[in-house]
């Protein structure tokens, strides 16, 4: 119900736009509030209605209620239904957001996570009455251990960056235990932003390692920077360029040689499952993003989970509590428990047992695929990426947005839009925005930083060949359009709920909550 005139000619609303989304003027739920309306009915008062001030001193009570919306249930449903259509989502179209592994989210996982035995299990339930949950965690730990090639797993971290922090705190504890205090952590310049941010939070200084001409770690530079102040090297392999670092064994040797730990950022694990394992490469600590490789839905920015797998020498320091299995005596069933008695542990990173609901989904995913299925999924992810790259190369992207490092990628690849900017005046951002009009989510842009005008493409294994073809065609069409008239891309998108937004203004005068009353 808008305030402007409606289109009246069929041309006026050409229906073939890719993103048929809700385009009303945004109205917040607070703006829909009308005094006196309500959704929830109060629960019946079955105890004496003592005045509150008789139970809690008045000065500790609120003077006025929080200004929450006053709105009926049907209107809440409509509100969120309508704004939901202002989101692009994975179940509607291709989402090749590099580094994010936007694979299919099986609804089976949602179903099993919602079983009351999982969903309504209180985290402080006596372990003897939560045997199923503990066994599930134990089984997931075992699966991740096998996949990572490292013997011990803690499920506690809530996401990748939380796992990274755990990793550096473990490293600190490990060194402290040996009477060492180290100050620096190495990260390659292709590293994801969470890596250096974590280093700082963990109280270390970041030292950047250069990238060589094959897109891998510059081993000489590494060797030069690796000294006894280096606590750890954080690495992604395949790295954020989608390239596998063949020198990993040598790299591990160098880092271990100076007494540092080797941390594996598992964001790209989806490339290698069943083919090679971080533990076998020499990594001491690995985090796994269950919301990437293991199909937990992203939820528009979480929840996820970032379990870590570690080697024997790191194990004593793992977060508390750990799920343990105690074999049954005389043939009785094994019992599962939470072990708090871990004197060298770094302690807790959060409350309770971690994002258990995510564990259920990921374990269901592992059970669904099995070892062979996971291995094949990685193969298909790599096949899809290579195919998409080949297809893009056949078209105009070959010249305007060539691949940054001319090697066979693994599950993702990074193009450089520098020629497009130079020759057509069209930036990577413009290409990304124009893709929105074609009904595609754009790739990750401007990351990794070392690639000029980077476009980072990760198709994942769950996409069809036809979808990859269509995406390659769209990119080609956009570049063809730009050859004719770069302003088309420069001003895109056109069909989305809103067009380019003024982020500068948003930063300058932040309006970050609804002004009320």
């Amino acid at each position: 119900m808008s305030d402007t005139a409606r289109p009246t000619g069929s041309g006026a609303a050409d229906g073939e736009a890719g993103t048929p989304m809700q385009r009303e003027r945004a109205t917040t739920i607070f703006e829909r509030s009308v005094e006196g309306r309500r959704a929830a009915a109060p629960v019946e008062a079955d105890v004496p209605e003592t005045p509150l001030e008789d139970l809690i001193p008045k000065r500790l009570l609120r003077d006025r209620p929080a200004e929450l919306p006053e709105i009926s249930e049907p209107e809440i449903v409509r509100h969120y239904n309508r704004i939901s259509r202002r989101n692009f989502d994975l179940d509607t179209g291709f989402y090749p957001l590099g580094s994010c592994t936007m694979k299919h989210n099986p609804r089976l996982n949602e179903r099993v996570a919602a079983l009351p035995g999982h969903a309504r299990l209180h985290p402080a339930q006596d372990p003897r009455r939560a045997q199923g949950a503990l066994e599930l965690m134990w089984l997931l730990q075992g699966s991740l251990s096998e996949i990572c090639g490292l013997p011990h797993v803690s499920l506690q971290p809530s996401a990748g960056s939380h796992g990274e922090l755990a990793g550096l705190l473990l490293t600190r504890a490990y060194h402290a235990d040996r009477g060492e205090k180290r100050t620096r952590v190495l990260t390659p310049d292709t590293a994801h932003g969470t890596n250096p941010a974590t280093v700082t939070m963990a109280g270390y200084d970041v030292v950047k390692v250069e990238t060589n001409e094959r897109g891998g770690v510059d081993v000489d530079d590494l060797r030069a920077k690796a000294d006894d102040q280096v606590a750890c090297l954080m690495l992604t392999n395949p790295n954020t360029l989608g390239l596998f670092d063949e020198n990993i064994a040598e790299i591990a040797e160098i880092v271990h040689g100076v007494g540092g730990t080797l941390y594996y950022d598992g964001a790209n694990l989806n490339a290698i499952i069943g083919h090679t394992r971080p533990g076998d490469m020499g990594f001491d600590i690995v985090h796994v993003n269950l919301h990437k490789s293991f199909s937990q839905p992203h939820g528009g920015g979480g929840p996820g989970a970032g379990p870590i797998a570690v080697s024997d020498r790191i194990e004593p320091f793992l977060p508390r509590p750990q799920v343990v299995r105690r074999e049954g005596e005389n043939g009785s069933e094994p019992r599962y428990d939470l072990d708090h008695d871990r004197p060298r542990s770094i302690g807790r990173l959060r409350g309770f047992q971690g994002n258990f609901g995510v564990f259920v989904r990921s374990y269901a995913y592992i059970l669904s695929l099995g070892g062979d299925g996971l291995t094949e999924a990685s193969e298909t992810a790599v096949l899809n990426a290579n195919y998409l790259l080949a297809k893009l190369r056949e078209g105009r992207a070959g010249s305007y947005a060539p691949v940054a490092f001319d090697r066979r990628p693994m599950h993702e690849f990074v193009l450089s839009g520098a020629p497009a900017r130079k020759l057509l005046g069209v930036k990577t951002l413009d290409i990304a925005k124009r893709l929105l009009d074609f009904g595609f989510h754009p790739p990750t842009v401007y990351f990794p930083l070392l690639v000029d005008e980077a476009l980072m493409v990760e198709p994942t294994e769950t996409e069809t060949r036809e979808t990859l073809d269509a995406f390659a065609e769209a990119v080609d069409e956009i570049l063809a359009e730009a050859e004719q008239d770069p302003s088309v891309a420069q001003n895109a998108p056109y069909t989305t709920p809103v067009r380019r937004l003024d982020e500068v203004a948003a930063n300058r005068r932040p309006l970050i909550r609804q002004p009320l009353g």
Binding site: A40, E70, L121, R129, G300, G357, E394, E461, L501
Partner: protein, 469 residues
């Protein structure tokens, strides 16, 4: 073909041809031979959907959940009722499946929900600035410490012993990285010892941590306790139960600089501890030190109202080692559940819920305290949780109650050796008077029997409780 993929043999052949590779294996050739796994992964599975369902159902059936027992467990997470519309909305693929809204033009739904969430949390806490949520409660407390350390340039943290043990432990864990020290202030009569607190604070104190209500359920006088911190230039951080903020003075009005907390009771199920969300609100002053995503309002090139992730120069993907925090993937869907729940309760309903809890809790406290062998651990005012002392071994009593289908509460001795005989009992609006009376009966019986019986060893499988299969 693996599960959920589409590539048929023919697809593979055609794709390999386009790539110019002879086999899929060739695509993996950058992995040195000696690093290849060279065997199949040893994992269970490759099961059909009904079989996976059955396995998971069987595991779930071995848990005693709040659907299969009458549960009075709390201690940081609560069995509040999650309205059906929360599930209906959050399960829409449009909310469930997108990534963090990096492309605002096609993420307005999620961004607007964040903006609404921020508004709601700001209203609850009485602080003007909220982010779009962190992971969960205790790590949000630790994140508050990081902010305080940065804001003050100091290194000491002081926490009340009424702060959730998991939060206190997180402060220590993170503190190893932050380079901070933690001092703890004891409780007296159930609440933070004001004199002890004042004594623990000095001009090197970055922040003081309180919990509202505290772990024993007692309502703290945040304003009074915070005074000493203020005098010394330390920040006052209050971890709160958001449901209690329906009736309690908002921390922002009681002088808190930072209010954080576990968001689970707002629209999120128990899920054995997660996923939920952590909220994080501050005064204007600390806006640019905030951790996490923040949605802000702006306009597009055509003047249309829109929302974006704002102040991103705080964040890791822009600022890298200079970021205010390392968080990336957070708990957006859980925060959405939170704002839906709050909207559903609404201005009046939220207060009514708080009042109901206070009254039922008063009833429960009185009823249970009247039982022979039970006394109050403290008599400070409470909202929805309170602590008792039992004149019988707590674990044994809990087992007996469990056998009658009642989760009688949380054994305080697990985290507080000084309250070895303590039982923490929590309510949600799902526990009515009849449930409380049932608990009273069961508890009375269990104490009676346990006191009478000779000490019996509790075997490993004294699980008890009804378990659905």
């Amino acid at each position: 073909m693996s599960r959920y993929t589409s590539a048929t043999d023919e697809d593979r052949a055609r794709m390999l041809e386009a790539i110019g590779a002879a086999s899929v294996d060739e695509l993996f050739e950058d992995i040195p031979e000696y690093l290849r796994l060279g065997r199949a992964l040893e994992l269970p599975g490759g099961l059909s959907e009904p079989e996976v369902y059955e396995r998971l159902r069987a595991l779930a059936g071995r848990n005693t959940d709040a659907e299969s027992e009458v549960s009075f467990l709390g201690a940081g997470m609560y069995d509040n009722y999650v309205p059906a519309i929360v599930d209906a909305i959050t399960s829409r693929s449009e909310f469930l499946t997108p990534y963090t809204p990096y492309q605002p033009e096609i993420s307005q739904g999620g961004l607007q929900a964040m903006f609404e969430f921020q508004t709601g949390m700001s209203e609850l806490t009485g602080l003007p600035v909220s982010n779009a949520a962190l992971y969960e409660g205790p790590s949000a407390v630790a994140s508050a410490a990081y902010l305080a350390l940065g804001a003050t340039g100091r290194t000491k943290l002081v926490a009340s012993r009424g702060l959730h043990p998991h939060s206190r432990e997180s402060l220590v864990t993170y503190g190893a990285g932050f380079g901070s020290e933690l001092a703890e202030v004891p409780l007296a009569d159930g609440v933070t010892d004001a004199a002890g607190l004042a004594a623990a604070i000095d001009d090197q104190t970055a922040a003081v941590f309180l919990q509202q209500p505290n772990f024993l359920g007692a309502v703290e006088d945040v304003e009074a306790l915070g005074a000493a911190a203020k005098e010394n230039g330390a920040l006052v951080v209050v971890a709160c139960d958001p449901i209690a903020l329906s009736v309690l003075k908002p921390p922002g009005e009681a002088g808190a600089d930072v209010a954080v907390g576990e968001g689970q009771p707002l629209g999120n199920r128990l899920d054995y501890g997660g996923p939920s969300f952590g909220f994080f609100c501050v005064t204007e002053e600390h806006l640019r030190r905030m951790p996490g995503r923040i949605a802000g309002e702006t306009t597009d090139v055509d003047g249309r109202r829109g929302f974006v992730l704002t102040l991103q120069t705080r964040e890791q993907h822009i600022r890298r080692e200079k970021a205010t925090h390392n968080i990336c993937t957070a708990q957006a869907l859980n925060a959405l559940a939170g704002i839906i729940h709050l909207s559903w309760l609404g201005k009046r309903g939220f207060v009514e819920l708080g009042e109901l809890l206070v009254r039922r809790t008063a009833y429960a406290r009185e009823t249970l305290a009247a039982i022979d062998g039970v006394e109050l651990l403290h008599d400070a005012p409470v909202v929805r949780e309170f602590a008792l002392r039992l004149d019988a071994p707590v674990e044994r009593v809990l087992d007996r109650c469990a056998a009658e289908g009642i989760g009688a509460g949380y054994a305080l001795g697990i985290e507080y050796p000084e309250y070895e005989d303590g039982l923490l009992v929590a309510l949600s609006e799902r526990r009515d008077r009849a449930d409380i009376d049932r608990l009273a009966d069961a508890l009375g019986r269990a104490i009676g029997v346990t006191r009478a019986a000779a000490p019996e060893p509790v075997g490993a499988d004294a699980g008890g409780g009804r378990v659905h299969e």
